[in-house]
């Protein structure tokens, strides 16, 4: 059962927006915890989330700090918003630091359309998107890939989709890691994961997944916005989803193996969800290969969804996608582990960075940043909750030292789904948003209630902390016009 010590009282203020959880506050912590929060956001952080920061700090080979971003809230294993890096040789790899929805992530598409072009067609556009992209529980894809094709997807990621007519070559170059993680091991994917993955390519899923039409409301950094192709008044389109059943099954399967492995290698687990194994062990490497495969599936999924969506835009506006300027700005993963090089204590080290509900935010000049953005830094996409602004940020050099080049991933929940359903009527929320000019389409009204704007922290406050601390700088604010809810 969860320990009940109030860890909030143990947090020490290091600087504005930076809090430290000392090693002394919990047995077994190898490094301190570090939480990036404003005073205002601190009140929303659950004790259990701080416990989870402490739990992660006990894992072998952890470097510098067990971190939590300003959107942090209680998760399972890692907190949501958790970031930790583990030494390539002496550290561990843990599915608890990635989660079930492997490579859940966000992509942003820009357009040459202005708000006034879209508003008269908003309803038609949303209905078209809702029909084209299967969403919600129990929905099935119109595409059914063979087992052989699925193996190719697990290895190639976005590239498979483009080669099969779902998009253009430039799309690949505008994804984190070119839309794939190397080292995929499709033979580590169970038959069950294959069965779940085959009928779901190009589906949104449910929960907090969405498609959103937005309008650029404010530009904070003209030069960087120009590099990202963003300007005030422009229409953008955002996709938020992940690896669907395939990813969930990969995590379920490998957790079991890593649970036994943790025992075998004598690793003490404060929470069984943190099951892990030494990074170079067979068990950890097999999980990493399967995780990479699921991550590649997720990139393919978002690529296929973007393609289906572009076709709807073409139909509604009777223009082709080049005329519509429907270019991919960027695609980021926010549930993933990656082998990266970081400067730690004056030395360059290779570490497995786990980001669970956190976004990579690499700066200008980094070789892993897409060529198109290498002079300014990587776009960091932060979706707001339904009806609230989303933000585009850009990775800063200082972020590499502060948080292994990692930023927040969203607004972060503050209210449970069951509480939300009791407090709000989905239909009321839909009408309130409509009054503000925001249309919402969902399979069922209760999924709207669960994701009501009030159940999240303020996305603006969360993003401001990331900006002030220096992890990433604000570039643009996007306001929603229409949402398709999964």
């Amino acid at each position: 059962m969860a320990q009940t010590t109030d860890l909030t009282t143990k947090l020490e203020k290091i600087d504005d927006d930076i809090w430290e959880l000392p090693v002394s506050c919990r047995d077994g912590m190898r490094v301190p915890g570090r939480i990036f929060l404003s005073e205002a956001l601190l009140g929303n952080l659950e004790n259990e989330a701080i416990e989870q920061v402490a739990n992660v700090a006990t894992l072998p080979g952890i470097q510098k700090y067990s971190m939590a971003m300003p959107d942090a809230h209680v998760g399972y294993g890692f907190p949501i918003g958790g970031v930790a890096a583990f030494d390539e040789e002496e550290g561990v790899i843990s599915p608890g630091g990635v989660g079930f929805d492997i490579n859940c992530g966000v992509r942003l598409v820009r357009s040459s359309l202005q708000k006034e072009d879209v508003v008269p067609h908003l309803d038609q556009l949303l209905n078209g998107l809702f029909d084209a992209v299967p969403s919600g529980l129990g929905s099935k894809s119109k595409i059914r890939v063979s087992e052989g094709e699925l193996d190719e997807i697990f290895v190639a990621g976005s590239q498979w989709a483009v080669e099969h007519g779902y998009g253009v070559k430039a799309d690949i170059e505008h994804c984190e890691g070119n839309g794939r993680i190397e080292g995929s091991l499709p033979d580590q994917i169970s038959k069950k994961a294959v069965k779940r993955g085959r009928p779901q390519l190009g589906t949104l899923g449910s929960g907090n997944h969405f498609l959103e039409l937005q309008c650029v409301d404010e530009i904070y950094d003209e030069e960087t916005a120009k590099a990202f192709g963003l300007e005030k008044g422009q229409i953008t389109f955002m996709i938020h989803c992940g690896s669907r059943g395939a990813g969930h099954q990969v995590c379920t399967d490998h957790l079991k193996v890593l649970m036994s492995a943790a025992k075998k290698y004598g690793i003490q687990l404060p929470d069984r969800q943190l099951a892990c194994a030494p990074a170079q062990s067979k068990e950890a490497q097999e999980y990493f290969g399967a995780m990479a495969a699921a991550a590649n599936y997720a990139w393919t999924n978002r690529q296929v969804i973007m393609h289906q969506s572009r076709e709807i835009f073409e139909k509604v506006f009777n223009m082709d996608q080049d005329e519509l300027g429907l270019d991919l700005v960027y695609d980021v993963a926010h549930n993933v582990a990656k082998l990266e090089k970081h400067e730690i204590d004056g030395k360059t080290k290779r570490v497995y960075v786990h980001r669970k509900g956190a976004t990579r935010a690499f700066p200008a000049g980094h070789k892993d940043v897409a060529k198109a953005y290498r002079d300014v830094g990587q776009p960091v996409l932060i979706p707001g909750s339904m009806g609230t602004p989303s933000y585009v940020l850009c990775g800063n050099k200082t972020g590499m030292n502060i948080s292994f080049g990692s930023a927040c991933h969203g607004a972060g929940r503050v209210m449970s789904r069951s509480h939300a359903k009791k407090s709000f009527s989905g239909e009321d929320i839909r009408m309130q948003l409509e009054d503000r000019g925001i249309l919402v389409k969902a399979a069922h009204p209760s999924v709207i209630a669960e994701e009501a704007p009030e159940v999240y922290k303020s996305s603006s406050e969360v993003v401001d902390v990331v900006h002030r601390v220096g992890i990433a700088r604000k570039v643009a604010k996007l306001l929603p016009l229409g949402v398709v809810k999964g």
Binding site: M1, A2, E46, H73, V74, G75, Y76, G77, I80, G99, F100, D101, G136, L137, G138, S139, K192, K195, R196, G205, S206, G207, G245, H248, Q249, C251, T252, L255, K256, M259, S260, D271, R272, Q273, A275, R413, V414, M415, S416, R417, S418, H419, K421, A443, H444, S446, V447, E450
Partner: protein
């Protein structure tokens, strides 16, 4: 907790956590399955048109509970059957292996008829616990949604 409560949902910011009760392990596991499916849909009107035998094994009881619920999620997704009624006939331990035999029943998913809410993505080990006392079993599970 009221007498006869099969399960109750606990507050959890992002996910769904419940406690399920029973006179024995078998009954508590049945009620846990009911609790999990009722996160996604009100199962009270779902008839038992299809019945499936379920057998799972694990190294300990907690893992067996996760295996059982994960298997049901898999059946739901792959066989497209929304499950509403569960009968666990036995939970046994032999040497280092725990095994469960059960039947799960429900109806084919029909999106015109079934109003689904949020999807349960997976069953987690987070704060998982099983408490057994004479004639009373409580299991606590956190679902990723």
């Amino acid at each position: 907790m009221a007498v006869g409560t099969k399960y109750e949902y606990m507050e959890h910011t992002a996910d769904a956590r419940f406690r399920a009760y029973g006179e024995n392990l078998e009954e508590a596991f049945e009620h846990a399955a009911e609790a999990m499916f009722n996160v996604m849909i009100d199962t009270s009107d779902i008839p038992c048109k299809f019945c499936l035998p379920i057998e799972v094994e694990a190294h300990d009881l907690e893992m067996l509970l996760v295996e059982w619920l994960s298997e049901l999620l898999y059946v739901f997704e792959v066989d497209c059957i929304v499950l509403s009624s569960f009968s666990v006939s036995s939970i046994k331990q032999k040497d280092e292996i725990y095994s469960l035999k059960a039947t799960a029943c429900g109806d084919k998913i029909d999106l015109n008829k079934h109003e689904f809410e949020t999807e349960v993505k997976a069953v987690t080990y987070n704060n998982l616990c099983i408490e057994e006392s004479e004639g009373n079993v409580m299991v606590q599970v956190t679902l990723d949604i």
